[in-house]
Subunit: 155 residues, 10 copies
Amino acid sequence: MKDALIPQNLTKDDVAALILAAKKRAGLSWDGIASAIGMSPVWTHSACVGMNAMPPEKASALVAVLELPAEAAEVLSESPTKVWSQTVPTDPCIYRLYEIVGVYGPTIKALIHEEFGDGIMSAIDFDMEVTRVPHEKGDRVKIEMSGKYLGYNAW
Amino acid sequence: MKDALIPQNLTKDDVAALILAAKKRAGLSWDGIASAIGMSPVWTHSACVGMNAMPPEKASALVAVLELPAEAAEVLSESPTKVWSQTVPTDPCIYRLYEIVGVYGPTIKALIHEEFGDGIMSAIDFDMEVTRVPHEKGDRVKIEMSGKYLGYNAW
Amino acid sequence: MKDALIPQNLTKDDVAALILAAKKRAGLSWDGIASAIGMSPVWTHSACVGMNAMPPEKASALVAVLELPAEAAEVLSESPTKVWSQTVPTDPCIYRLYEIVGVYGPTIKALIHEEFGDGIMSAIDFDMEVTRVPHEKGDRVKIEMSGKYLGYNAW
Amino acid sequence: MKDALIPQNLTKDDVAALILAAKKRAGLSWDGIASAIGMSPVWTHSACVGMNAMPPEKASALVAVLELPAEAAEVLSESPTKVWSQTVPTDPCIYRLYEIVGVYGPTIKALIHEEFGDGIMSAIDFDMEVTRVPHEKGDRVKIEMSGKYLGYNAW
Amino acid sequence: MKDALIPQNLTKDDVAALILAAKKRAGLSWDGIASAIGMSPVWTHSACVGMNAMPPEKASALVAVLELPAEAAEVLSESPTKVWSQTVPTDPCIYRLYEIVGVYGPTIKALIHEEFGDGIMSAIDFDMEVTRVPHEKGDRVKIEMSGKYLGYNAW
Amino acid sequence: MKDALIPQNLTKDDVAALILAAKKRAGLSWDGIASAIGMSPVWTHSACVGMNAMPPEKASALVAVLELPAEAAEVLSESPTKVWSQTVPTDPCIYRLYEIVGVYGPTIKALIHEEFGDGIMSAIDFDMEVTRVPHEKGDRVKIEMSGKYLGYNAW
Amino acid sequence: MKDALIPQNLTKDDVAALILAAKKRAGLSWDGIASAIGMSPVWTHSACVGMNAMPPEKASALVAVLELPAEAAEVLSESPTKVWSQTVPTDPCIYRLYEIVGVYGPTIKALIHEEFGDGIMSAIDFDMEVTRVPHEKGDRVKIEMSGKYLGYNAW
Amino acid sequence: MKDALIPQNLTKDDVAALILAAKKRAGLSWDGIASAIGMSPVWTHSACVGMNAMPPEKASALVAVLELPAEAAEVLSESPTKVWSQTVPTDPCIYRLYEIVGVYGPTIKALIHEEFGDGIMSAIDFDMEVTRVPHEKGDRVKIEMSGKYLGYNAW
Amino acid sequence: MKDALIPQNLTKDDVAALILAAKKRAGLSWDGIASAIGMSPVWTHSACVGMNAMPPEKASALVAVLELPAEAAEVLSESPTKVWSQTVPTDPCIYRLYEIVGVYGPTIKALIHEEFGDGIMSAIDFDMEVTRVPHEKGDRVKIEMSGKYLGYNAW
Amino acid sequence: MKDALIPQNLTKDDVAALILAAKKRAGLSWDGIASAIGMSPVWTHSACVGMNAMPPEKASALVAVLELPAEAAEVLSESPTKVWSQTVPTDPCIYRLYEIVGVYGPTIKALIHEEFGDGIMSAIDFDMEVTRVPHEKGDRVKIEMSGKYLGYNAW
């Protein structure tokens, strides 16, 4: 009875599951999906799994490419609440990134202060690329991040 | 009496304090110090603050450039124990990097798996660069990381 | 012997202690100190206790007003590492602010998204004022924060 | 069999879901809903998502405006149990507020003590407003909080 | 050299140590000290160990009664920063109080809501008494707390 | 199939939900329910929400008063496992009690030791009352706890 | 309705449950399953419970041996997200391993540094064997781990 | 005055510092020290840094080899209190071991149960060896642990 | 569809629920059940709630005594994964045991070392009895634990 | 200057260090010390390391036996604040006790409830003995605890 009252709208997690199933069915890569909607793979994946909001036209394009239910477009363009439950990630692939922050965080901070002044690299006005770099001793993963420098203001 | 027994060798923290004081005295930048010893600024800072070990010849070069006590060279070339005490860093400049791992970690993982297979980006066979990118709406911080791809083996 | 080697520079904590002692000795209020250096009380206190960096001319002005040792000016203008050790603050005056974030955080987020789009209020390009508002049923504390809206970019 | 015994009343979370669905259906903003029941947007949102209790007449007004089931009015006027599960919030929009408490908490405390004496700003006899302030370098979010000063008593 | 620069003022912890030593020397009880300055034992102890601020005249009276150094009076009247480092206290005498909050907290909340409405018992406008109640099966500790009811306001 | 095997007995949580629904239906207060079974409101609420065990005759009385299913009486008289999931409670009404333990815990401990000797106030042989005290500046919540003094034994 | 939209693919946990049931039904040991697919018992168990990815031909072999649904092969060969929820494991058999890391971790580190230089043992290019060693005072468990040495690079 | 009363005996940490200094002075390796006292390198290092107790004759031998003060022998043979402060180790070399426990702990448990029955591998009646294994694609670190199987008893 | 694929075997938790229901139905005590299968009450309860594995003949005996489904016997004899989710238990009856470990743990350690040497009391080769001891000032709970002494070995 | 003001009384930790040194000097065991003052070894050790308060006559006896400074007697008889800093103890000897609480805590609780009713075993009106029990397969550690049963009261 109560269940009938409460609306069961799609959530970002539901849409992510729909996307993953459609991607597998269509045999597409993230790179392919990203190209199809004219965005980068990092941003596209991130928005698909609910960590970024899609502009409406990109959401519509994705719905078309992957033949998702129409309702998904609106969900994809809503502002997400970004939640991660593991303060320290356990997955080895993600943990290594956490370790890099622990080891090199103070270094990055020192170099930013020396080059720019007292401020930070924005994680909002931000973009990222992940690429493969061939190397004779074994190919390398390259991660490039770029964020706007934001200086503290005094008042 | 007991204090007389226990040797008081320089620690990595002591050497870091010596370096910071010498750097200020000499009016050098991290970039300048790094150039002087023929290494990159990220690695140089990291080794100076005790998060990496210096090859002996680089340690000697640094001691010469900054006129540190001779004992410092040996300390700089010892393998460090890498410790950070804040599971979640509070400093805003470092926190933003932690946030990026939380938000984009699963994305980086997905793209590595798609491009390389089941494995990770090494944080050991690894290098990093931090640069300033001029931009009309405000200059940007660029961080480039490169780590060897390591694939899981089955046995 | 080792102690003689290691330089004992003033830290931000040392300078904060010097400022608090000088302030008491001079019988000044934070408001008074802020006026004397032409800045706001919130920013001035924050920089004095080591949570913000002072532009060199403000640091010099403060050193003059409070008759601090000259070395303090340089320390005041260095970029701070912002550390707080209590994840949940215990002091009742500060805890109430933490509680407000817990209770009203999702509300502030919803209103920002509705008014501006997908983004946040900057805590870097930010200012704050704390004032007393007379009220017949008991005076009130007014806290006004203003931060630049930063929108997520898609790429 | 057991399920039949246990009553399935609406919870505050259920009502929040009903409100969000009705709001979307009706194309209303929080500002619009707040106006319709004669209250502020911050308080209205907070009560709708279950972080504050509505006076019965406001609850009835809301039920009328959004065409909610009658049972919702009673739920909206019950005293909530305020729970947040993330000691440190991960969502960037909310984290920035947490960061502001970490950085500026001791400053706010010092200024309250200087202006009022030994006491705190109440988080109960409290109100808040979130507004947009146009600015040539980018519009700003303004948050104004006002809470009754409560002085410690000695006995 | 640096040590000579930094002022070594008495802290609240120092004054607490002075008080405990003077109390032992004088053979006084907390009850006796409280009577001598015309306050209650709970408040007196709390202020002596640095968890409350003393009005100047009470601080002076205490300094006189216990023959403390004059500087202590000012320290006693400063607003304390209330810090406790154990989130869950381990001392059995204090843990039992924590357990009571865990077990009976929701009950106290329900009864306050039923009797007063949506609000809380203030921990600021608050007083407490601890007394011994003779009982044939073993004397009992009686703790009486009284705090002003603070109702949430809607705006 | 498996579900058919596993018995679905009422739990203490189920019974609490039944009681809350019956209480609302009958328009009773906790005070009224407590009177009806001849017990205090604090203990009655606590046992109803599963934090205390009811003597069988009180459980039967409650079942009669609230017209609960007969099975509920047995559940009410079972020894509960007392669990609270928030180490630090977030609800403001309960947090204030936690804060009081943090601020005044050491004081209560000191006064118990001075008055009784080395021991504690029992949280088991314990009772509590919550009452409203009229006051011209705003009514007050009064909480009275009484627990048997338990002295440590030496052996 | 919503449930109908969301695809219900098998997860790694589902496949693990299928494998455990099939293993019990077939009366096979881990050793037997491992032999049947030509891999080691440690790796085979780990991949079956979702902590490693199977090469497609091994996944197919396992599906054949255990008569699993065809869909399981694809799930077994996907890259897992490795999650463990207990920071400190409580199961005594696993805790002892954690304790060994706590007690002997610094020793292993010191010996690696002495023998190899500044680097680590890889947990990715890694294999392990668990065997029984007969012993007159009680048989022993032998665990052999082998991981590639990875040296830090300087740049 | 108080300092004169309190005895300042060497602690295990003091002795570890003495050993590390003597080792460096003598140009010895852990392997060399272990040989000199007729024990294994893992156990020798562990006992030197205070994580195991030395039988008196081994302690005396070590004191002789490294020319330590006589008092050190007694300290080395005392039962240690084994403490590690980081629940999750941050040093990459030690973290990888922690990760192996997280990933393979359930596998080791399953294989022990299958081979031995319900029990564990002892971490007390335990030994370990760390060796270098040449390998054409890069040498490997081999860690061999052996612990007595301990079966649960039923009573 | 997916649900049909996944086997729904009884878990240890399911069997515990079956046992508790059968025990209530049969009006048996733990003491009675233990006698009926010829084991002690502590071990019997522990194995019934899934914290120990039953030898097959004891499992069969229990199934017969309590008229459980046959499948339960196999589940009872499987090696359990011992999990407790509260690092610090909140239930007062269990917390007191935790407190005893906190207060007397170092004492037990010191006495074991003095009497036996460097080692521990096993928690695996272990048994326990809980009994009632009549006492004129109130009966006492007696807990007797016995575990094999395990000495550290040097190698 | 400030140091001269602050009294440096002996703390419980200081006295514990004095006792340990005197014990070693006198070649006494805990058993011997306990006999000399007519108390049990568990209680004696616990009071010596600051986890229990000594009755004045026992404190005086101890001071005489171990030739401690007179001031120590008063410190030994003060009520201790019982603090342990590791929520989960790492020392293997103490951890096993913690593990026993995790594994058998619910069992002890169930048996107490069955035998006595709703209540607990006191950790205050409590005593303990640790003894060696010869056994052909290896001697055993026996720990016997006895605490008064405390029943919950209803009011």
